[in-house]
């Protein structure tokens, strides 16, 4: 109980101080706010250690119990320990061996995975373009118009396709995106205020549910 109250008071005070610093210029509030933000960064850095322990625990368990794919866990832990060792022995992530690992292993692997996006877009579009309702019908029509307006063959078929495509992107699509962003901004503000006012306490100890939801 005491920890719940204490954590709520600390969170509300910290949040209100940082918010006050956004609106009003004051040296003491500014300094305190900067200190709180820096403290949050340090605490967040410690979370990385927790993450590392989690990775070790999950994959050691997998290897120990010979779960499906346990060999991949061995490769993962081997790569993790090797990279960690190289980093410690050569002076951190800015060292040449570490840069080599990033540039010759990590970046090419990431690029390879993201290059698959092109094929995934095709299969996802195939599934999305099956007309199941009025909305999916509109999705298909506007998708085809934008596609034809984007490729040279569309302009060859009808020179108005690029013009219609620009209108679709600039007017209805932009209006829809702005409507979504307005809703997201309001939702974010409401979530932030609930946390700030102590209505939502994601940081506090929780009690087990007592009622059927």
């Amino acid at each position: 109980m005491v920890s719940r109250i204490l954590s709520t008071v600390v969170a509300m005070t910290a949040g209100l101080l940082v918010l006050a610093n956004f609106f009003f210029y004051s040296d003491p509030i500014g300094a305190l706010s900067l200190y709180l933000v820096r403290t949050a960064s340090v605490v967040a850095a410690f979370a990385l250690v927790l993450g590392g322990v989690n990775v070790l625990t999950v994959h050691l368990n997998k290897i120990y119990s010979r779960d499906k794919g346990w060999g991949y866990s061995m490769v993962l832990l081997g790569a993790l320990l090797f990279t960690l060792g190289v980093g410690f022995l050569t002076g951190g992530p800015a060292s040449i061996p570490m840069q080599n690992i990033f540039e010759t292993v990590l970046f090419p692997l990431e690029a390879t995975l993201f290059s698959l996006l092109a094929f995934f877009v095709v299969t996802a579009a195939y599934r999305a373009f099956r007309v199941k309702s009025f909305e999916t019908g509109l999705f298909v029509v506007f998708g085809l118009i934008v596609l034809l307006g984007q490729v040279p063959v569309g302009a060859m078929l009808w020179d108005q396709f690029p013009v219609i495509k620009d209108w679709v992107l600039d007017v209805p699509a932009m209006a829809g995106a702005r409507g979504i962003l307005l809703g997201v901004a309001l939702g974010t503000a409401a979530t932030g205020l609930r946390v700030l006012l102590g209505i939502d306490r994601p940081y506090a100890d929780r009690r087990p549910p007592t009622t059927d939801r």
Partner: protein, 247 residues
Amino acid sequence: MNETQRVMLLFLVVFLPALYLAGRRVQRGILPDLRLIPAFDALRGVTARAIETGRALHVSLGLGGITGDVTADSLAGISVLEYLADQSAAAGAPPIVTLADPTLLPLAQDVVRRPYGPDREGAARAARHVRWIAPESAAYAAGVMGVLGGEGVDANVMIGAFGDEYLLMGEAASRRGMAHVGGASDPNVLPFVFATADETLMGEDMYAAGAYLSGRPWHIGSLLAQDFMRWVIVAGIVALVVVKTVF
């Protein structure tokens, strides 16, 4: 105080009383009719489906953490996880939870542990199902695709902050015929969610999880306050357009 600060202060001055009054109104039992969001109905069914099939439920909380611009998205994912964890705990089958930002790890572990109460063994087992995959989006997507493909997952819920990697994971779920509920706030990611998920939570729908799934009065109240603010902003935009056009 510059213009942005003045506008934000005005926003807070109007929004805070609206939030308070709407919350109190709901607390007194005056409940509004909430519009139907099929994704929340689907979320009520995914746990049952996973339990019936004896397979796993996977929940992805995305790339966000609790110290950045997308904290609200992560908290929306946590709200959904809270509901699913309560449901799963009754059957002793905790969901597999994956995340990319380690600041979310203790929070997610706490959420899945909570329904077990004094059952320390059950709580510890549930917490072991929460996995930090990787902070990089590509590595995270690869890890999640591995979980979806190799751990007998039957239902997939992805709610949080995502980028283009959503499509990689969403497609992996769709191809395996999993029940899939997705939610994102970034308009650039929403087409990927729409194309791959059975049911979608678009934009602000995501933040309504506490109201729809758990029926918390202050969450329902905040939906009313958001609607009120939306009308105020729309009226303001229309008024400014008229003033600018006429004068």
